[in-house]
């Protein structure tokens, strides 16, 4: 069915929303819930409802957020929200809730007093959240365009095409204060206006869905759970920029379900006349094509991503010229993140003032975080900008599982570690930069005393080092040098002057690298050096990992009382660390790599493992 005018769309929306009375069960089939068995739960519902012949609509949904307690099931008419549902629970849910309208207490969330809480909005995990980007994620069926239209989808596009000039659209986005959600926070309207001003034609539009941070999955959740928001946002952007015949959505290789849902969404949007030639009969045309990534973190960088679309190696280039001047195929190009595009329709529908009223002065709107690590409630959360880290970790995250929370790592490999003492810093683009971190992708990993900050910094550095494209020397050689030093430190062979060397290298790499990958790669090391220097010192001076994570070489020693001088340990040692002297066998901690082979072959158990070693 093709919609030939904005009015036809509004009529369809009203018709669909008035029909919304039918009871509806939404089973979360986001990545986390799917892995926990969401699809089996969905099938069980379909079976059970069919068996009772009930007039209930069962649909899968995108991520509902609380992955920790999945699979999640929302019975919308009754306002009941079930956690950790097993297919075996389904007959009881159907019987209690769908047939008799009663909640099933054993599957509900229970607060501290043990009282069951029936509906989502009253659960602490959800109470402080404000869903703008994720507004439809988990609330609609992503494979059915009618469900999106029902909740007001494509109305913003219709409003734009039927009565707003491109300049007015840009002005609206500008007044809303929307900044790029990819991490750097560049003002979106300024980018669009700069591209609009270019004389060269055609122009291109790209949606960056190459989410590569190892610990972030919000772009994926939006693409899987609400693909039409992104398509609508892109179409509005194309109209605002002008002379954009075609846009691309670049999706990370590891996200096959996102590609599948997007393909379906694009097809449906074209069928409904909301994409392609002569959109809604207004004469405006725009097409979107999906480009699948092929596995390179650096392709999240905008110029690298464009080369990748052109079929080349995804290596960043020097800017200027900026992409808005010369981007894809040498033409003016706007590239925005998935979440940026998904924010656009709601800004148009609800108005710039509404959006600008959320968040802080310099960072309007909301931010999505993938909250993981050592907290009770992990999952996908969206909060107004300016919320404190403490609120995120304790109120939404529910605090530590056990022990004490020591730090959060924010922004993934580009971000930094923030100690507990700074948890009252507001989360917005500028405050985070001030303390050496950055919003980055929105990964938020909570760490407790069992986590070693040196090891975590080394982990992120090993990631960026491996993903460095190798084009510029500071990043290619610099991250490698830093990593070797970090290796030395976690192995217990660090030297005190290494710390200064790390800081010097880090500073140079940040100042001289070609692209954002290199310019932010030292952040995890620099922030941990700044806030957790004592842990580095413990590794170097005491050759001891306070968290007990790093396998330091001093851990193995030979007990002379038990040693029978057989020499098997010396034969087994590949590091040449076992020394034989007239006094007996001993292990040289400077050579030992901690593999433990000596202990495995010792017939008398003379090789001991100790937590700490006196040097």
């Amino acid at each position: 069915m093709k919609l030939n005018s904005p009015e036809e769309l509004f009529a369809l929306r009203d018709e669909l929303s008035h029909r919304g009375d039918r009871p509806r069960v939404r089973v979360c089939c986001g990545t986390g819930c799917r892995a926990a068995g969401g699809e089996e739960v969905l099938a069980a519902f379909e079976r059970e409802i069919g068996r009772h012949g009930l007039d209930v609509e069962v649909t899968s949904s995108g991520c509902q957020g609380w992955c920790e307690r999945g699979p999640l099931v929302a019975v919308e008419a009754e306002k009941v929200f079930y956690l950790s549902v097993d297919p075996q629970d389904v007959p009881a849910i159907v019987d209690h809730t769908l047939r008799r309208g009663l909640p099933l207490p054993r599957l509900l969330y229970r607060d501290e007093t043990g009282r069951p809480v029936p509906w989502r909005d009253e659960i602490p995990f959800y109470r402080k959240q404000l869903r703008v980007v994720l507004r439809n994620c988990g609330r609609i069926n992503p494979t059915d365009i009618r469900d999106y239209i029902r909740v007001g989808g494509y109305s913003a596009l219709a409003k734009v095409l039927s009565g707003m000039s491109p300049e007015e659209v840009i002005e609206e986005v500008k007044r809303a204060g929307l900044r790029g959600r990819g991490g750097a926070g560049f003002p979106t309207a300024r980018k669009w206006a700069a591209c609009r001003a270019q004389q060269e034609r055609p122009k291109y539009l790209i949606c960056n869905g190459d989410e590569g941070d190892p610990g972030a999955f919000m772009d994926r959740s939006v693409l899987e759970g609400d693909p039409h928001s992104v398509i609508e946002g892109m179409t509005i952007a194309a109209y605002a920029i002008g002379d954009v015949p075609e846009g691309y959505i670049y999706v990370r290789a590891e996200y096959p379900l996102a590609v599948k849902h997007l393909e379906l969404a694009l097809r449906q949007a074209e069928e409904y006349g909301l994409l392609g030639e002569d959109i809604l009969g207004t004469g405006f045309s725009f097409r979107i094509e999906i480009k699948r990534g092929a596995g390179a973190f650096v392709c999240g960088e905008s110029t690298a991503l464009m080369y990748s679309i052109e079929g080349k190696r995804g290596m960043p280039r020097q800017t200027p010229p900026r992409s808005v001047e010369r981007g894809l195929w040498g033409k003016p190009t706007v590239l925005n993140n998935v979440k940026t595009f998904a924010s656009v329709p709601v800004i148009i529908s609800r108005g710039a003032d509404w959006f600008a009223g959320i968040g802080t002065e310099g960072s309007q709107g909301t931010q999505v975080f993938a909250l993981t690590g050592k907290v009770r409630n992990t999952g996908l959360v969206e909060v107004p900008m300016g919320i404190t880290i403490r609120e995120l970790v304790y109120d939404i995250g529910g605090g530590p599982r056990e022990g004490r929370i020591k730090a959060v790592q924010i922004g993934g490999p580009s971000g930094g570690c923030i100690p507990e003492s700074l948890f009252d810093v507001p989360v917005d683009f500028d405050s985070l930069q001030e303390i050496g971190a950055m919003m980055g992708s929105g990964g938020l990993v909570v760490m407790d005393e069992a986590d070693c900050m040196v090891a975590i910094a080394r982990y992120f550095l090993s990631f960026t080092q491996a993903e460095s494209c190798g084009k510029c020397t500071p990043c290619r050689v610099g991250t490698y040098r830093m990593l070797r030093i970090m290796d030395r430190i976690v192995e217990g062979n660090g030297r005190i002057e290494d710390l200064e060397e790390l800081e010097r290298l880090g500073r140079w790499i940040k100042e001289t690298s070609l692209c954002g990958l290199g310019r932010s790669a030292p952040n995890p090391v620099l922030t941990t050096l700044r806030y957790f220097r004592e842990e580095y010192l413990a590794h170097i001076e005491a050759r001891h990992c306070p968290a007990g994570v790093c396998r330091s070489p001093g851990h193995f020693r030979i007990n002379p009382e038990e040693c029978i001088w057989c020499g098997l340990c010396a034969e087994a040692c590949e590091d040449g660390a076992v020394r034989r002297t007239r006094q007996g066998f001993s292990i040289d901690p400077r050579l030992c790599s901690g593999c433990g082979r000596c202990r495995a072959v010792c017939p008398t158990g003379a090789v001991l493992f100790t937590e700490e070693v006196a040097v």
Binding site: A35, C67, G212, P214, A216, K291, G311, T378, F460
Partner: protein, 165 residues
């Protein structure tokens, strides 16, 4: 992948016939190189040298240019892949919840390192940076099935059984 995985040294003529339907759609288009390589790999399971030569011929690029692009991206394989693929998530959440230990154990039990395939082509072991199910960390994916911590026992049993066979 319905067709069998081609062995090394496959005959070029056979390969050319098999890939023709894909190649013909991209002939002369250097810009379509990445999707073309993805489709060829989708058909063959990996990218043998002969296939890369055919791709170069079809696109009008040199073999060096094609390999230059293909080798840049982690998702292109120049070795045959195993019938089963075990992927260990080494994203941040999995990392701090014990992924390195799981990987180490898998390497030991399978006798291959990360990124390698067993000589009998039964299994490939690799790492992946975040699958987006951090709440279930640490996770291992066998073929397309995501195994959370509780399900890892099944994986070890499966490996043990495989060794007996």
């Amino acid at each position: 992948m319905g067709e069998p995985v081609p062995e090394r040294g496959v005959r070029t003529e056979e390969l050319a016939t098999r890939l023709e339907p894909i190649l013909s759609r991209y002939r002369g288009q250097a810009g379509g190189l990445i999707p073309l390589l993805q489709e060829v790999q989708g058909e063959l399971g990996w990218l043998p040298e002969e296939a890369l030569r055919l791709v170069a011929e079809a696109t009008g690029l040199t073999l060096a240019q094609v390999v230059g692009v293909a080798s840049f991206y982690a998702q292109f394989y120049f070795q045959p892949r195993g019938r089963h693929v075990i992927r260990v998530c080494t994203g941040t959440a999995c990392h701090i919840r014990g992924a390195p230990k799981i990987l180490e154990r898998l390497e030991e039990e399978l006798g291959i390192g990360a990124g390698e395939t067993a000589p009998d082509l039964s299994v490939t072991l690799e790492t992946v940076n975040c699958l987006g199910c951090c709440a279930l960390a640490p996770v291992v994916v066998v073929d397309e099935r995501v195994l959370k911590k509780r399900d890892h026992k099944k994986l070890w049993e499966w490996i043990r059984k495989r060794r007996v066979e």
